[in-house]
Symmetry: C2
Subunit: 247 residues, 2 copies
DNA sequence: AAGAGCTGTTATGTATACAAGTGCATCCTA
DNA sequence: TAGGATGCACTTGTATACATAACAGCTCTT
């Protein structure tokens, strides 16, 4: 598979969207992009169509392309999809996992356990938190892999990525929480992961699915709470014109 | 939303793929398509990218586009996805359904019951079978709608469409079955539908999901059996080059 | 005779010119 | 001054020309 210009444009735009440099709603004009990437408009357009297929970009005829902007309804629907798929994947993982898969999941779990303890213990959080997130991802990816369904894995990862478009802009102003609250939260997450792992390890598909669904549900609810907490659910309901008015 | 040439090309190609006129593996050359549709190559290319996003077309750089060809692995993975989503949707439908939703589902079910009885009774199958299929679809669509998640509905419909690419070519040589067998089969399908409906009607999400999962599993197994029965599972494992050799 | 290399053909990838639609600012009118 | 018409600038959509990679058929060599 040789790399052609449309792939270059694709990678370029995709990266900027994911990193947040191009925020949701940001118009993506073929001309400026083409001069920025130094390819012609044709491969840029093709890149935009590919990104549309992934759900990162929306295109409407004659009005051009823009970074996909999610409303709360769509966000919830995406979360529900993710819940369904990741829950099912956990069930499949319980049945289909290889020993190597299980090992990978266990390692991620153990790393998380240790990191969680250290963070709760208290000294120098920041570094460990990045590590914790990484291990969290490793845990979830491990399960998707163990489920032995590439299509499902790709789809879950895609949904996650799309969701980040919604969550990403929120990170800036998370409502402050007490350390006790976040610690309690971390313990809950860890406990969920342990429950999921146990179910998978003993091959109990039903329990694995239920535990995973509960886990995702927790995460989603926390996020939805964040959204309404930051007063965003209402703001997002505003139409284009209304938003323009306030600016 | 005005209709532009790339939409024309999109509709044209999509229709031909779904109808089977362009069979899986069929190369889709921009030049011939453009002269056929009477638009230039540019909108044709864009149409192909859109179709790729839907999973109906595969494109590889410099080698061009072709109608998506599924191997057994991918088919099974798609079915698993569909199982997960449609099962979950049934669960949601049990919780979220409106009275109108329920009515629609019940009507489809009742129509199917009557048609099944008539078909089993015996006179002039053909017409009724088309009707039966239509009501079957109506039943499933009704549940997706009742789940109140547009994204999920669209995704399930898309998966179904993609699956047809695999199943479609098979229809030609279905191994003959005795009428007793097909009748028994129809009764099973109807019983499944009734079970699903009852669970949804009484708001039992768990039961609705399980019944739906079982139902889809039945369908999938039947189809997979058909595939191996027609000696296709082995053929499809062959690589491009091997296939080219035999031709 | 088999295989490597060459060459012409064909289809794709890309750039660019042109057409056409959209939105905005300006200007005119009541 | 408010409302609407008009024209302009800009962007997208489309056609097309050109560059380049893949492929097929041929020849030449071993």
């Amino acid at each position: 598979m040789k790399k052609v210009n449309s792939d270059v444009a694709y990678d370029y735009i995709r990266k900027k969207i994911i990193s947040g440099e191009y925020a949701p709603g940001n118009p993506l004009m073929t001309e400026s992009l083409s001069s920025e990437i130094k390819v012609s408009r044709t491969p840029v357009r093709e890149a935009l169509y590919k990104l549309k297929g992934e759900g990162l970009v929306s295109i409407s005829p004659r009005l051009g392309a823009s970074v996909k902007k999610m409303d709360v309804k769509e966000f919830r629907e995406t979360c529900e999809l993710r819940l369904a798929l990741e829950g099912h994947a956990a069930g499949l993982a319980a049945v289909n996992h290889s020993q190597a898969d299980l090992r990978e999941i266990r390692f991620a779990l153990e790393a998380m356990r240790e990191l969680t303890e250290r963070i709760i213990a208290g000294k120098d959080e920041t570094n460990f938190i990045d590590d914790l997130v990484r291990e969290d991802v490793r845990f979830h990816v491990g399960i998707m892999t163990a489920a032995n369904n590439d299509l499902m894995k790709r789809e879950i990862l895609r949904l996650n990525m799309v969701n980040r478009l919604m969550i990403g802009p929120l990170n800036i102003r998370q409502p402050a929480k007490t350390k006790a609250e976040t610690d309690e939260n971390r313990r809950r997450v860890l406990a969920s992961h342990e429950e999921i792992y146990e179910a998978i390890a003993r091959g109990d598909a039903g329990a694995a699915r239920e535990a995973m669904e509960q886990h995702i549900q927790d995460i989603v609810e926390k996020t939805l709470h964040l959204i309404s907490g930051s007063g965003r659910s209402e703001t997002r309901q505003l139409s284009e014109e209304e938003l323009a008015y306030s600016g």
